[in-house]
Subunit: 498 residues, 3 copies
């Protein structure tokens, strides 16, 4: 019976393969043809999705013929073997086989399961290089290499047990970490062994991976690289259209810690994208402002190559992204000049802790954070985009408010921190075990992690209520009052304990 | 003056009717023509909306000519009277007139206001039968027949009065229930009498209904049936396209108790649907994975007939829905193997209470919940869909994390419950009056009703921050600490009371 | 180098201008041509966006030829100078130059930066007049002219400082106000001076504006008018399609104080708009219910000219909006009959405070709020729209529930207010300094500002969980219990203070 099914599948697969080869005019490589021969029936959704992709329909050689502005790949030259065939299964999953610890022999081919930025760099070299300078490619490394963030992870993910009097925290399990913090930040994908699995085509051997599946932006890959291009360019259509839409960014930038998407969606930009985005052309390279799109999405201001209808470049494509960000709005615990290196584990504040600011708000020293000149350069780079649609007075007014808001939210963080420090001093909470595990500490944490961040992002994107009543200024003010009352309740309660 | 308007309307209505009859080539039944003659001007939006529907444009006889996979109706045969005409007003609103308590004479026809699953079953028999086995068709019955849920309803909806010292709860009014819990779960639609109403065509008699309007999934209908097909297939277009989009499910699955839609929207699946769904064909039957759609929606995995481009069936259409769910992620108060019967009022935990788990986490006995074998069968049925686009190691890794999360969230529920039980034991709250009406009890309730549910759904759909900072693990951990502090505040306060 | 860039730009600009003039068949005015000559390269996104607009493609003279129902402008006649050219830069930005304090000379033209309702009224007279009667045009005035609202602003936006024992509030800075409350309500745009700025075309003088940028609905404009049409019709495409989509309203109506968009999105109407809105025609005037659109958006019920397919008017276009609202659901602190005048600063409750209701729930006297007759008239106007798609029993049942909910949420507000008043009486909070600045006061405020509002809007739009678990009845009930506990904690804490 199972044999019967398998036989039927082989026949269908062969038939599909024949049809496919004839349709694709010889541009699909022989090895990819072989992959498709079975996978069209084994993982049909995956294969049919790939068929819609530009990868499946254009060879690198053809792609290189475009003008520089129109070009979608950035390596100066493409290895001969790859240039003349479309980018299929084998082209990516056999690249750099030797450096991939997850490489295994599958139907006589050296296949690896993960495709990494190093693989993509064969054609998209500039983007891969830029991405290495992006904080995102270090998203895992920066978490696991920083004791302060480790404490936050534990206070969030650890099992909590109650013994009738006290709550104690057990060790965090890996699977929980993988689907919480590391879902976005990236897991460590490692080969832990091999296993034989029964398939429709008989028993086969596959590598066993830990940390899998995952497409986090700072994933540790089995070839030693960091990141995952499919975080934003999901497999196997790899659509630029998708990457340019705000929903892609929303996957990791919507929660209360970084409510960027929520805020964008109530901004004028977000409204225009939602209401009139259907009229935009999300596939064009370069992307003509006002013509191809009127409603800027996240990508328009932070990533894409944007030009005027006369072909003048307003902003170059970047996958570093933070090269237009003078400030890091994300408070740790205060907003601060952007880190100079994407590796933030090297940062030390004046107390020697791996945080970009001290508890009194002082930024870490100049070697760790960018200086005024770099800030000005980045601000100007971003403003060039603003100025494509807005006048100078509009842009200046907007940025003055943003920088005012950085100061005012840092002040509200300072006040909450002073109350917290008093509680620590009075022994009403214990910062030595962890700064994040007690209720009162969590109240303090949300002040900067949720509310101040929300207000700043609302300021940056003109996102109305996220700066007021939706985890905004109302909550910042309320939290300071609540925190103070809570500390009082703790003090009185402690004194009254039997 | 009023007479004048009425006359004008009659003339217009006749004219419209004539035009309509000639356009529709005799496929509209005579009785439906008569309905339209007036209703095109009385409820023009409703009629014009129906005209866009497949019901208005295809007769059952034509629909039956499709191949089995393409067919959209499932009864073996259709009554002769219905087969040759399109499905218009009269075809549905006069069906099974005798069993409808809301039937009344209207222009010489036996009309009923509500159309029920029993009516739809005349053509869509299999779907109606499957839906009877769906928890959703029992959504009202399971609420009103369970004292524990009744207590939750009262604690939520009852008017709260303050006498200067104490808060007391008054009786819940029906209208409030109807537009809160029963909005989704379904009201009881009952005929309470008749009334004469003035219309543009003179005075007419209509039945008076209680519990109306409502389209809740477990609605009690005047013909004794349960449910409402228009919950997901809203009148009068009844679009399969609409039902396949996630917004339909979001109507009842977005709030903090079941944030399925929110989580989906930040998952890779949800991003693809939002970003690239415009390229999908949402009308095709059967639905070809990878070709008709690349971004799975709720319906793709839980309901629709999904096939490969070669026509192999990956999953059959089901309106039972839970036949692919090994676990019920929704905690009551713990996640547990899916109930064996859609009627959950019969369940008793080991303490004899109508809940699928005990307060210490023990599931109710085997006859009430499905066993390991059925769980495995259901898991495999769901995984067949996963495997259409993902490899086996991906799918296994994902499911291992989900089942790990069920265990870890159940633990966090247990800890909160132990703290709650201690407060009950100490007399700091009173579980006998209600387990849900005091502030501390509500804090406990949210631990499993909001946070644990959110984390599990985030795990099931890879929905990032809903498992962490957005009603996720951060809130689960925080709530345990808060709850413990709160119990302490209550204890000290009680001792200090004058 | 800079000179070189400028020269290149001038050449490009001239070239573009020539091409543009030839393409536009002489309908663009000479002055607008001059604007475009430079601005096509200076603000290319803005100019290209305008080119997509109806303004750029239809002259008022042509627009006036439409039938009355089809017409999109409402002035009886259009000044000759404007009638024959499309509506370009100069047509709007030089209108009524004398009354604009922000007028300045720019390339020999009297240009003003802001375009105001008074300017738009030249062609859209009826809409501008209606909007003056809309609460929204008074959104700023009503805030700044009301001491109670001023106290709320301060308690939200003021910097909070901790001296080691007490929290004190500093003065609110203007920029913070501008990007929080006044972002939606409107800033005061005032000319504060002039400045010389270097541009690609040399140094130029521009007016300096305070309160800029802003597009709040009640903006104070430099010509003395109130409001901003681009709140809902954003520059420079001014799309009716955009204004008719719910995302536009969501910009200011999504937060916890007015979660209208969130609620709409889980209503049947919202689901239909999201799922099937792609089939709707959002550009048609008049808008045919059931044909052009089946899924009502905010605009469909509150603003647009809606007709039947026979051309019968169901509801006239209105920019007053509240002319179909019998109740103001927004609690201050109780829901109440709609204010009679859009200027609510004149309202006095029986205690003489500028609020439409007293703390015991009594509405302000009859001259300030509309009476039963006006309420009935407005209810009927709204119900005419409901009845286009729903039967009378449906509509009546829906409205009975809504009015029941107004009563039940007002009761839950009263209970919370009684607890709050007791705390004030006991000296546990101080209402004289501010009613909104202490934690316990903020808990009370959220009862009516967040939860009761959410429940009422959920009732009005059948928005399920926003009436239950998503800032709904669950939270209303919980807050009453929490508030009572909190007052007890404060009392005991105060007694125990060392």
């Amino acid at each position: 019976m199972k044999y019967h099914v398998a036989l039927k599948r082989v026949v269908v697969a062969l038939l599909v393969a024949v049809l496919w080869i004839s349709a694709a005019s010889g541009q699909v490589s022989t090895v990819t043809d072989e992959c498709i021969a079975c996978h069209a029936s084994v993982t049909p959704g995956l294969v049919d999705n790939w068929r819609k992709s530009r990868h499946a329909n254009v060879t690198p050689a053809e792609a290189l013929k475009k003008t520089e502005l129109q070009r979608r790949l950035s390596a100066d030259s493409i290895p001969e073997k790859l240039a003349g065939v479309v980018v299929g299964c084998a082209e990516c999953h056999t690249l750099n086989a030797a450096s991939h610890k997850d490489t295994f022999v599958h139907h006589d081919q050296q296949i690896h399961l993960t495709v990494t930025p190093k693989d993509c760099a064969v054609c998209h070299l500039v983007e891969a290089r830029q991405y290495e300078k992006n904080l995102m490619s270090h998203a895992r490394k920066n978490l696991v290499g920083n004791p302060a963030y480790q404490a936050l992870i534990e206070a969030t993910n650890a099992p909590h047990v109650f013994d009738g009097a006290q709550i104690s925290l057990g060790p965090v399990d890996t699977k929980t970490n993988e689907e919480s913090c590391f879902h976005c930040h990236g897991t460590a994908v490692e080969v832990t062994g091999k296993e034989i699995r029964g398939t429709d085509f008989g028993d086969m051997e596959f590598p066993k991976l830990s940390g899998w599946p995952n497409q986090g932006v700072g994933r540790f890959n089995p070839d030693g690289s960091q990141g995952s291009c499919s975080s934003c360019h999901p497999r196997h259509q790899f659509s630029i259209k998708g990457a340019r839409k705000p929903h892609t960014c929303s996957q990791c930038h919507k929660g209360p810690d970084v409510p960027a998407y929520k805020i964008y969606s109530v901004s004028k930009h977000g409204n225009l994208a939602a209401s009139l985005g259907g009229e935009s052309k999300y596939e064009e390279v370069p992307w003509v402002v006002g013509k191809d799109f009127s409603a800027p999405t996240c990508a328009a201001c932070h990533v894409s190559l944007v030009v005027t209808s006369e072909g003048d470049v307003i902003s170059k494509r970047t996958h570093q992204m933070n090269d237009r960000l003078p400030w890091r709005l994300f408070g740790l615990p205060y907003a601060h000049p952007h880190p100079a290196s994407p590796d933030t584990t090297i940062i030390r504040n004046k107390e020697g802790i791996s945080l970009p600011t001290s508890f009194d708000g002082t930024p870490a020293s100049g070697k760790f954070l960018i200086g005024k000149d770099e800030q000005n350069k980045r601000r100007e780079a971003m403003q060039r985009l603003c100025l494509a649609c807005h006048t100078r007075d509009w842009v200046n007014g907007h940025w003055e408010r943003l920088e005012n808001t950085i100061a005012s939210t840092n002040l509200m963080t300072l006040t909450a921190t002073q109350i917290m420090q008093q509680a620590w001093t009075l022994g009403l909470a214990d910062p030595h075990r962890s700064m994040f595990d007690e209720a009162v500490e969590k109240l303090w944490t949300e002040q900067w992690l949720f509310f101040a961040n929300s207000v700043r992002l609302a300021s940056a994107m003109m996102g109305a209520d996220y700066g007021v009543f939706a985890d905004g200024r109302w909550q910042m003010a309320k939290r300071i009052q609540e925190l103070n009352d809570y500390v009082t309740f703790l003090r009185v309660t402690k004194q009254s304990k039997p």
